[in-house]
C-alpha cells in the first residue's frame, strides 16, 4: 500500500521509496515535459524531483495524496530551471504551459507538434481554451489524476471536479468543431 511505502520511506527505506518512484515517474516526467518542452531536460528534472522528494519526505503528510506534492515540486524545479537559464542569457524556446501572463498560447513541444491531423486538431483546440479548463483537462487526461488529486492540486472541493470537467470537455468539443470548420472553409476557398 502506498501509505505504508511512504511511512517506510520516511524511515529511510530506499527500496520502499524506489517503489513510489516506479509508480509515479511517468506522470512526473510528463509534468516536467510540458513545461520544459524537451525530453532530456524533463528526464533530468524528473530525477532531481525524486531525489528532492526523498530528502524532504519527512515533511510530507501521508494523509494527503502523494502526486499533488510531487506535482508541486516538479513545477517549482522546472520553472526554476527556465528562470536560471534565462538569467544565464540562454535562449528559452518557449515558456511554461499554462502561464498566460508570459505566453497566452502555450507552445507545445516540437516533437508533439508533428502529429497526425486528429491529434493536431485536439492540440490546437486545447491551446485555445481558457487556462482553467486546459489545466483540468491536462491533469485528468495526460497526468492521469484522480478527482481527489485534482482537487488537491487546484485547491477546489472534490465535489466540483466532475462538473468542471464536464464544462471543460464540452468547451473542448465545441472548440475542436470550430477549428475543424475553419480548416474546412480554408480548404474550400483554395
Amino acid at each position: 500500500m502506498e501509505r505504508e511505502l511512504i511511512i517506510r520511506s520516511k524511515a529511510g527505506d530506499r527500496y520502499a521509496f524506489s517503489e513510489l518512484v516506479r509508480k509515479y515517474y511517468k506522470r512526473v516526467f510528463k509534468t516536467a515535459y510540458l513545461i520544459l518542452k524537451n525530453r532530456q531536460d524533463a528526464e533530468d528534472i524528473t530525477q532531481t524531483v525524486f531525489l528532492k522528494a526523498y530528502s524532504s519526505i519527512t515533511s510530507f503528510n501521508e494523509s494527503r495524496s502523494f502526486f499533488p506534492w510531487l506535482h508541486r515540486i516538479t513545477k517549482n524545479l522546472s520553472l526554476n530551471l527556465i528562470k536560471r537559464r534565462k538569467m544565464a542569457g540562454e535562449k528559452v524556446k518557449s515558456m511554461a504551459y499554462g502561464e498566460p501572463s508570459i505566453d497566452p498560447l502555450p507552445a507545445l513541444p516540437e516533437e508533439m507538434v508533428l502529429r497526425e491531423e486528429e491529434s493536431q486538431n485536439i492540440l490546437n483546440a486545447l491551446a485555445e481554451l481558457p487556462t482553467q479548463m486546459r489545466d483540468i483537462l491536462i491533469l485528468k487526461h495526460w497526468k492521469d489524476c484522480s478527482y481527489r488529486e485534482i482537487s488537491e492540486i487546484l485547491s477546489i472541493p472534490i465535489g466540483t471536479v466532475m462538473s468542471r470537467l464536464y464544462y471543460a470537455r464540452k468547451k473542448l468539443a465545441e472548440t475542436i468543431e470550430e477549428t475543424e470548420n475553419r480548416g474546412e472553409v480554408r480548404k474550400n476557398e483554395m
Binding site: R14, F17, S18, V21, R22, Y25, K26, F29, K30, Y33, L34, R39, A42, E43, T46, Q47, T48, F50, L51, K52, Y54, S55, S56, P109, E111, M112, R115, E118, S119, I122, L123, L126, L137, K140, H141, W142, S146, Y147, M162, S163, L165, Y166, R169, L172, A173
Partner: protein, 144 residues
C-alpha cells in the same frame, strides 16, 4: 434525473469515479435516453483522442538508471564514512602512541599535538558550515 445532470455524471463514469449506486441510476437513464447515449459515446471518443495526443513517456531505461544512481548514493555515503572514520582513528592512535613514547622530545609532542588540534578544529568548523548551508539549501539532496 435531468439530462444535464446525467451528463455531468457520465463524466464521472468514464473517469471511474462513481459509486455503484450512482452507476445503476445512470445506466437506467442511458437505456432510455438516446441523446445521452450519444453523448456518452462522443465522450469516450474524445477520451481516446486526448490520450493519443498525450506527451511521450520518458526513455525506457529511465527507471533502471534512476535506481542505479539512487542506491549508489548510499554506497558512496557509507564509503566516505568508513574512509574518514578509519583515518581519524588511525591519527588518534598514532598520536596516542607518540605521547606514550618515553624517549621522544616534549617539544615534538606539543608541535604535532598542535597540528592535530588545528586540523580537528578546521574539520569541525567546515562540517558545521556545511550542515548550516544544507539546512538553508532549498535543493537539499539534489545532484548538481
Amino acid at each position: 434525473m435531468k439530462c444535464e445532470e446525467v451528463r455531468i455524471k457520465i463524466n464521472g463514469l468514464i473517469d471511474n469515479e462513481l459509486a455503484e449506486s450512482e452507476i445503476d441510476a445512470l445506466l437506467d437513464h442511458l437505456s432510455t435516453c438516446k441523446s445521452c447515449r450519444a453523448y456518452y459515446k462522443e465522450l469516450l471518443r474524445m477520451n481516446r483522442e486526448m490520450l493519443r495526443a498525450a506527451p511521450p513517456d520518458p526513455a525506457d531505461n529511465w527507471y533502471i538508471d534512476f535506481r542505479k544512481r539512487f542506491f549508489r548514493k548510499t554506497g558512496g555515503f557509507l564509503g566516505r564514512l568508513f574512509f574518514i572514520g578509519s583515518y581519524l582513528v588511525l591519527l588518534i592512535y598514532s598520536l596516542f602512541q607518540l605521547f606514550k613514547a618515553p624517549n621522544e622530545d616534549l617539544a615534538i609532542k606539543l608541535i604535532i599535538g598542535g597540528i592535530f588540534a588545528g586540523f580537528l578544529l578546521l574539520l569541525v568548523v567546515s562540517i558545521a558550515d556545511r550542515i548550516k548551508e544544507s539546512k538553508n539549501d532549498r535543493y537539499r539532496g539534489v545532484i548538481r
